[in-house]
Symmetry: C2
Subunit: 156 residues, 2 copies
């Protein structure tokens, strides 16, 4: 059993944040000894899951819902599974979007690399948008392609 200060150090989270999470109901079964929070293994794993769910784009109140399901027992396994599957899809989508972002950034790095060497953008403007070096063209194309969300919208 650990104090809030120890947990704060291990997880690199301010004490105030841990108290805030507690107030928001993210540790529904945490114990206290004469008013003082006692973090156990359950709470440490909760923190790992909180980090993961936050990174996956979930809001605090939705994480509270998940923690509540954990308290309610086996009847909520299916809801929890569906939550994690939805999050997995969300993160996969997000990574695809980031890949597109990365292609734009790589294109811009190449572009300004040339601009710095040339001292102007004249040659670059002659190359755009479809006389680019092949290894750069694909960054440009991917970065300027309409995104998947727009495609889905049209498909409906």
């Amino acid at each position: 059993m650990y104090t809030i200060g120890q947990v704060s150090e291990w997880f690199h989270l301010p004490v105030s944040t841990l108290r805030y999470y507690d107030k928001e109901g993210l540790f529904p079964t945490m114990e206290r000894q004469s008013g003082i929070r006692k973090f156990g293994e359950r709470e440490l794993e909760a923190l790992r899951v909180i980090e993961c769910l936050k990174q996956s784009g979930l809001e605090i109140k939705e994480i509270r819902q998940f923690m509540q399901w954990c308290v309610e027992g086996p009847s909520t396994y299916e809801a929890r599974l569906m939550l994690f599957e939805a999050r997995r899809r969300a993160v996969e989508d997000e990574m695809a979007r980031l890949q597109k972002t990365l292609d734009m950034l790589r294109f811009k790095c190449w572009y300004y690399g040339v601009a710095v060497r040339d001292g102007n953008e004249d040659r670059l403007h002659e190359l755009l948008p479809d006389r680019l070096p092949p290894e750069i063209q694909k960054f440009y194309d991917n970065a300027h392609a309409p995104d998947a969300a727009a495609d889905r919208e049209k498909a409906i």
Copy 2:
């Protein structure tokens, strides 16, 4: 030259957001015809870059700085290059973090898949933390590994 309404539709951005971006100085050279904004190719490319820089984690005021550099001309090529290179590194780091998140989510999906089938977590608790199926073990290990930031911190 396009109106704010057209651009709003093409980019799936509320008109209010486009006006907000303008107020924040993200279109420093946008023209007006009797008070009405005229979006040209320059502004459309700006919007693509804004989307990219936002996704890469930049704040609005830093994007304004970039747009200002674009107005200032060739003397800022190097600054712009350095900005894009820093963003590329940031997005690469973010993708690594998301990969870890994804491994946690895959582990949890597997975990609750088993829990749903078994109706309990008994068998799962016997398998944890190191008697997991090999293809799952690697998700668990990666998801529970200390992150790169913590590693760097220790290395200093």
